[in-house]
Symmetry: C3
């Protein structure tokens, strides 16, 4: 109990995946598992504000479901940019100061990197970063890591292949940095050069002793993976449409890929997916992406409990 | 209790008014009457998602009120088309699979016929069709039928005159097919030819033994009706504005019509009304349309209870 | 208790600040103070509808927080103008009649003066005016007055300087009329001529024995004020941009102004502020505007309790 209290004190706000160490992750995942089926009133009369400056219905609904399942309440807006006060020129800081007096916790989605840290610096209640543009989306990284642990029974020593848009997507980068906390993790980055992972991230991972390799074809790494983490490739990242089609084909997951995938491996995706995973894959028990979405509610229940109790 | 349990099992989803038989309708109406004044926690910790791909504030608020009065909670969006994932190309099926992990029940409004059935085919929780474009809106038909039973004390043998847009409006069609389950029902369809009810519907009704007649003027049928079911006529259905004005005038309900209407008859309207019912009618006790709206909450309470308990 | 019951009966709807007399204000402020820290279920199973025809996230979230903290529930829309039924031509009156059957109380925001009174005339549940265009916003005036009482310990005899847009802004006008209920109140109106308070308001205040003076510079009145009530000046009120800049400079509150402000005085602002109060003022304990925002929740809790219990 004392340890829990100490940890909670560390969790004043959730701004970055990198604020979590192994001990806090272990505790959070224990709580997520304990809370997943809970429906009670432990957060009764607590009000969560979802302050979304850009729509992200998936993230918003997932947080709201987590709060409601613990008996809390929700106020919010998914169009904070059309907020009359934002239109009139109110700063994010003033809006957060005000919403701090209405709610016991603020879940903030914003289009500018650093917005969550700015909000936390003036808020009188906990702030959870639900995505700040090109910055971070820490609860996504937490639910991804939690999914690996639940599906495989361990994180230490796993081999993960990240596919898709690894240059611009914040999802793979955040998860990779969390994985670096676990010994023996090996990572493959599978993408055409134009959207391949940045050298800065590789350098940080290798400095932490993570074994990294790069590939252009998913088939090059398939025989030695525990997790394929697929992400969406955006056409607008490419200047040449032919190159875009080649890139997509090289990393698309379909029945043929699944036949090569090891029997105990899993396929993850932060969703939404378009056609980078074929519908025929859905029925395969190794397709973990909808279970991954469900884990998002459990992780957010654990985060809310830690911040509010 | 055993009968109730058996019925509930039938109600996995609510997709079409035609999935209801007499026994199930009787049970649903009993529950609606029993629940109308209830404010308790029987659905505590249950989360309903309102997933609206087109706005329909009336329907959404009515479902949400029903859920909250039974102690449940609500998450949702009234702009699912601007949903970041829909914009990124996510299918309805993927969205529904995901929302199934966030909520215990999904109320879906969509602009395409068949959308609710598609959603139900992949959902892991009950789906309620809250209107699928030109398709169905079953809880509207249920609340209409329930209103007739409550107002007149019976459905068997009633004479109903449908007015207005009978060709394109799904409301009258769905209610007419439900009425066909009751013996002795007689129906009149009052509309100019261009928006008169389709021959396919007439054939189905007559095959079920329902007596049907067509008319162009409401005054032609008024002396023998128990219910006038008025609907809104949309100008865009007409090519000739003069014809549109004549059509509206022929079926408009005002003080003069009310003086001809039998003393025990009622006027219904699914709302919103524009000027097809004159404001002077509102004070007449036979104007049942706002009581009809209130019945919508009770019927939806009964539907939610059946699906979730 | 009997007195409370009698007062409650007076409060069928909250449409105008002027419906409150001293006795009712005293009672409301006692309840606001008593309720500020309350989190319970006294309004359990009561449903509040927030029907907003123009967005006002601040006001909406504040009302919703008040309702949820008392255990009630909320349904609503912040885009009532895109309401399918409004688009189809439904009147405000019909919408209110319908929402009356879904909710136990309606909070209405509208862009037309008089809308709240029209709504109240047909509603079968209490209506709270949350701003009707150029009309009134009574709960804003109530929370402003309550803030003065809490911050200064009294209202009688206070000296208040209103600054900014006093011609078009409804906030200062409503508060001034409430202050006129208290003996010995003195008011200063500080604004350039083009946005100075109207002669009609001055006449009404003076008829009630309130001492009023006009000024163009905030520094002219600073030595004798208990409250500076700042409001935002809109550029579009001015034809000459140079004149706009001069007006803003004359009434801007910054560190220099704060050094002249009496030690026990406070600065208020209805928010959002843009640059009419410099950020350097925020840390001064006399800056009361965020405490004022927090008081908005307490006042609305008291209003909801009075109307619903």
């Amino acid at each position: 109990m004392t340890a829990t209290t100490a940890r909670n004190r560390m969790l004043g706000h959730v701004i970055s995946a990198e604020q979590f160490d192994r001990g806090l992750l272990d505790l959070l995942f224990l709580r997520a598992t304990a809370l997943a089926g809970v429906r009670d009133d432990r957060l009764a009369h607590r009000v969560m504000a979802t302050l979304f400056y850009e729509p992200s219905t998936r993230t918003r609904l997932s947080f709201e479901s987590a709060m409601l399942r613990l008996g809390g309440s929700v106020i919010g807006t998914e169009a904070a940019h059309t907020f009359s006060s934002a239109i009139k020129g109110e700063t994010l800081e003033d809006t957060v100061r005000m919403v701090s007096t209405y709610a016991d916790l603020i879940v903030l989605r914003h289009d500018e990197a650093g917005a969550a840290a700015r909000a936390a610096s003036v808020a009188s209640v906990p702030v959870v970063n639900a995505g700040d543009g090109p910055g971070e989306h820490p609860t996504q990284a937490l639910l991804d890591l939690y999914t690996i642990e639940r599906e495989l029974g361990r994180v230490e020593g796993v081999s993960v292949a990240f596919c898709g848009d690894l240059r611009f997507g914040r999802t793979a980068r955040s998860l990779a940095l969390l994985l670096a906390l676990y010994p023996g993790v090996r990572l493959a980055f599978v993408a055409p050069a134009v959207i391949q992972v940045g050298g800065d991230i590789l350098a940080r991972l290798e400095a932490r002793g993570v074994e990294c390799r790069l590939a252009e074809q998913l088939t090059d790494v398939l025989d030695d993976v525990d997790v394929v983490y697929q992400t969406r490739v955006q056409k607008e990242r490419f200047t040449d449409p032919v190159e875009f089609e080649q890139a997509r084909t090289a990393i698309r997951i379909d029945g043929a890929i699944m036949r090569q995938l090891p029997a105990k491996a899993i396929v993850m995706h932060p969703l939404p997916r378009v056609d980078e995973i074929a519908p025929e894959v859905d029925a395969d028990p190794r397709a973990a992406y909808f279970r991954q979405a469900a884990n998002g509610v459990a992780i957010r229940m654990a985060v809310l409990e830690m911040l509010l109790s």
